[in-house]
């Protein structure tokens, strides 16, 4: 079965994303900071990671870079959630490296569509 990891330091955001994408077709787990997220990614190799950019510990962008440079994670899909607080250039470059990116506030139904696309459901 496919699996999705939600990495966000805001509990209310994790809850929102979790409720939005809950499905019998895949499992959903959560990480509350960047370091925890990276451990879980290496261990569980989730099919999709929904990554908040601004997190304590490793940032979402650092994790994205690590995923893209790790051959064992070649098939991992990434959806970036941004609150647009970074340099525009940096953000553009990194979002290009992601499969999708959504700006907060985002539409949950939109997110669900992206998730289903990423998992080819």
């Amino acid at each position: 079965m496919q699996s999705v990891l939600i990495a966000d330091d805001e509990p209310s955001m994790r809850l929102l994303v979790h409720v939005t994408i809950e499905s019998d077709d895949y499992t959903v787990s959560e990480a509350a900071n960047g370091d925890e997220a990276w451990e879980m990614i290496k261990r569980d190799k989730p099919s999709l990671v929904i990554l908040d950019i601004q997190m304590p510990g490793r940032t979402g962008l650092e994790i994205l870079g690590s995923i893209r440079s790790d051959p064992s994670l070649k098939s991992t899909k990434v959806i970036l959630l941004t609150a647009k607080a970074l340099g525009a250039e940096l953000e553009e470059g990194m979002t290009a490296a992601a499969d999708f990116f959504l700006t907060k506030p985002f539409s949950p139904l939109d997110l669900l569509t992206r998730v289903e696309e990423a998992l080819r459901l």
């Binding site: 509990p11 209310s12 409720v19 304590p56 506030p105 985002f106 139904l109």
Partner: protein, 652 residues
Amino acid sequence: MVPGGPGADSLSRTGLAAPAARPPAERDRSLRRAADAKLLLAAMLVESSDDAIIGMTRESVITTWNRAAQRLYGYTADEAIGKNIAFLLPPDRLDEIDGVQKRMETAEGAQHRETKRIHKDGRLIDVAIAVSAIRDLAGNVIGISARTRDITERKRTDAVTAEMAAIVDSSNDAIIGKTLDGIITTWNRGAEGVYGYTAVEMVGKSISLLVPKERPDEVKEIIAGMLAMDARTKHFETQRICKDGRRIDVSLTVSPIRDSDGTIVGASSVARDTTKHNVMAAALKASELRSVLAVSRAKDEMVSLVSHELRTPLASLLGFTELLYSRDFSDEKRRQYLGVMLREGRRLTDLINDVLHIQRLEAGHQTLSLAPADLEALIQRAVVAAGEDVERPIEVNSSPSLPLVMVDTDAILQVLANFLSNARKYSPDGGAIRVSTHLNGAMIEIDVQDHGLGLPEEALPKVFATFYRVESGDRRLIKGTGLGLAINRRIVEAHGGQVGAYSGGPGQGSRFQFTLPAIQDSPKVADVLIIEDDTGFARMLQEQFVARGMTTVRTADAETAQRLLKEGMKPRAVVTDLVLPGVQGEEFLTKLGADPVIAAVPVLVLTVKNLAPAEISALEKAGVTAVLPKEAGASLTAVSLITEALVPKVTS
């Protein structure tokens, strides 16, 4: 007071004083002889006075007019007597007559004022007037006397002197007065600009401080040259040393200062900085540009931070709204999500309020409404507002008999609320929070100590910065805008105090301190004591009293008012609200009624409460003069009631 008692009018027409009571005929005659002799002497003195002395009835009709009055105004006694004094007043000053008459009944001694009057030939003259009441033997006011002096010449000299001083002060040139020994006696603002020293630093010092070492005798030579020529020296070029050690080129002119006999008693010099400062100017421009850029960068950062901080709660709020709108959930889930939305909505509101608040503070738009306040009462109120938390109880350890502080109570309550809520927030495992105060010199220190997460050393200097948040695992779940402490710092600094953060390190708890200047002498004198927690309404009341020439002291709570009264304040009227923070108006008034000082003065209640007749009579029993509903126009009614009661006693 007997305004216009029987016979007063007929007596005043003659301008003569006579006893109001009727003693036996014999005594009456001898008293009258003595009075006549006194009157004769008085009349001679009046006639020979250099000041214009004018006698009037209570209604300001002229009854006597001495020779000096004729010289001053140009009218003869025949022309003036019988007319109302109003013909001497410029039309825009006619209300002066009213003012004089109103105050006449109770004024002790003369009322003085400087004003303008009209001469017979139409020109305005500047005059100083002393007005006093003429009383009969029983003390009834039967007339008015006005002693008037021409101050046109003095006014003109004053104006010229002020103008000269202003010119000297506004000059960019350094204008310095000194004695013949070279001791500096005056130092204008231009001198501050050119040399960098302030007047306080330089007056009394020798001018040789400014002279380069290789020219030790220059000052002596300049002064000797000036004395020899008995006139102003020509421009000459030399050099001077500034406070910061810079050497500048100056063009100097020295003139003699003479006393009224013409003797030279000192020298004044005008120096212009002629240093080629193109390099300096360029550097200055660059640094100005840099600082403009820095400000705009800081603004950009602020905008970016704010937008990030706003987006996260907004994302939850909108996200859950959309989910609830498009899907069906169980009641339990729906309640859970609505709970999240409510929290995030509140967080968003807090954030917006904080951002706006900090903006106002930074732009200097937030004006503090300062009033004396009892710090202990404020702390108690903040503790009550913080609410119960059995795991994080707040203990207050106040040092006894602290002086009052001069603060904006709303702002300081917010500072306390922020510190208290932080202390609880960062104590996830509970623990008591201790608030303590003590006097340290002229400042009162307020400490908020918790037993929570503590702060790493490197965070201590940064915690008061805008949007700074300590990042560590145990804090991750604790929400905050990163603005609370930044707001506290600005508020405290605006009061002339300082903030500080202390911690033994992570796990060791934190101590936040702020200081406020103590009031050295609590105010003792005021016409009206106002107890009102609504700052806007209080300010309006104060302005209206002040406009009527009365002084006010306002407190935002009854506790502070009680402190002021205990410390010896004697107001001549009290205006109080009933709904107050802490001790309520009713309780305060009951205590107040027992105070003999207050029992004798008018006490007004302004309230939004709808009082039953029984409640009103209870208040009246407690010594309240009147109860007014707090609505549009109430302040005016209150002010005129108090004014009526007080104005005759208010001396200008």
